[in-house]
Point group: C2
């Protein structure tokens, strides 16, 4: 399992629309083969800053199954207009975890 | 429950020492009242970059119970020398989550 962290900065005037559109984006992401789970986390200190955490079986599930599928275009069409700047996505592997 | 994300950049020559010291740091963090769980995540693309994710009952558990306790000094004494730059910590609240 790997963790994708996508850091998103949303235009101030688009925050409520972004959050309203998010359930559709979740439905797209969670339909991808190799998807495990996700969290959309809203920064308390900085309005419009989000960390979208997605657990995938491996990097290919994200980079091939999702990014090279038509569903990625759907996802970007849904949320792309809300971004103040392009999201930055990175992949992580657990050194150690005590999750609940 | 809130999520703290601390982004850490480790000096290239100190990475193995940082990871070796980490179990002691975990023991400190997990002893704090209001601590729920944690993950130390190693960036796959950028060597020396880590996201330390800690779930707390609330912000005070982090900012008062931990940061204002002697255990914070212990934690920094243990890991502080490995940082290439000061870590950046932010707090997040879940907009939506489907976690496992």
């Amino acid at each position: 399992m790997i963790l994708e962290v996508a850091i998103m900065k949303i235009k101030p005037d688009e925050i409520s629309k972004f959050e309203a559109a998010f359930p559709k984006a979740e439905a797209i992401i969670s339909s991808i083969p190799g998807y495990i789970s996700h969290e959309m986390q809203r920064c308390i200190e900085t309005k419009g800053r989000y960390h979208f955490l997605i657990r995938w079986e491996n990097i290919d599930a994200h980079m091939i199954n999702f990014r090279q599928s038509p569903k990625f275009q759907e996802f970007r069409a849904l949320l792309g207009g809300f971004f103040a700047e392009p999201p930055v996505a990175e992949h992580f592997e657990a050194v150690t975890a005590h999750r609940i």
